[in-house]
């Protein structure tokens, strides 16, 4: 089975810190995605990547950046964490557009 691993289940960071959320997949998937999930707002796409070194903004990219230097790893970076970035962050990958997503278990980030 494809596995998508997010480095932390729970994370607490201080306002203004630079935060790295790591996501690794083990099945050579081209596409990778970062979503955040908030009560009442559902899942919202932050960034996605078609392939290595490629990235596209999603619906809410402000305050975030991403890095994809290797095919298996897609990192989400909070440049200067703020309390409104407290959320559940979900990483996903897929082989191509005709396939479903495989999600990681999520990282619950709290910014204090």
């Amino acid at each position: 089975d494809v596995k998508v691993t997010q480095s932390s289940r729970y994370l607490v960071k201080r306002t203004g810190e630079k935060v790295f959320l790591e996501c690794v997949q083990d099945m050579d998937h081209e596409n990778m995605f970062w979503y955040r999930q908030d009560p009442g707002l559902g899942l919202r796409l932050i960034y996605f990547s078609y392939d290595v070194k490629m990235k596209e903004k999603g619906d809410i990219p402000e305050g975030y950046s991403v890095s994809r230097e290797k095919k298996e790893r897609f990192s989400l970076i909070l440049e200067s964490a703020s309390t409104n970035q407290t959320s559940m962050y979900l990483c996903a990958s897929r082989h191509g557009t005709a396939y479903g997503y495989t999600f990681g278990s999520g990282t619950r980030l709290t910014v204090v």
Partner: protein
Amino acid sequence: SQQGEEDPQALSIQEGENATMNCSYKTSINNLQWYRQNSGRGLVHLILIRSNEREKHSGRLRVTLDTSKKSSSLLITASRAADTASYFCAPRPIQGAQKLVFGQGTRLTINP
């Protein structure tokens, strides 16, 4: 909007009963996918139905698709306590197919 709208928002049934959730969408699609999310976890891909298919089965799951009405339904037969979760539909539009947009989901509770 590219997202699916799930209905009802919440559903509570007795163990052993069947659960039906509906999804409506607005754009032309290539396929439609259903996902399950257990509390505090990532989403799990359940089933993908292509636009030229009308019905698909997987174990106790039955998905139908009516592209003329732009709607889909997910039926879970003989429900179990472990089916308690949120369920999301994700239509994959023909345009902008690189990303999926998720709605708010249906929160299903199975009572023992």
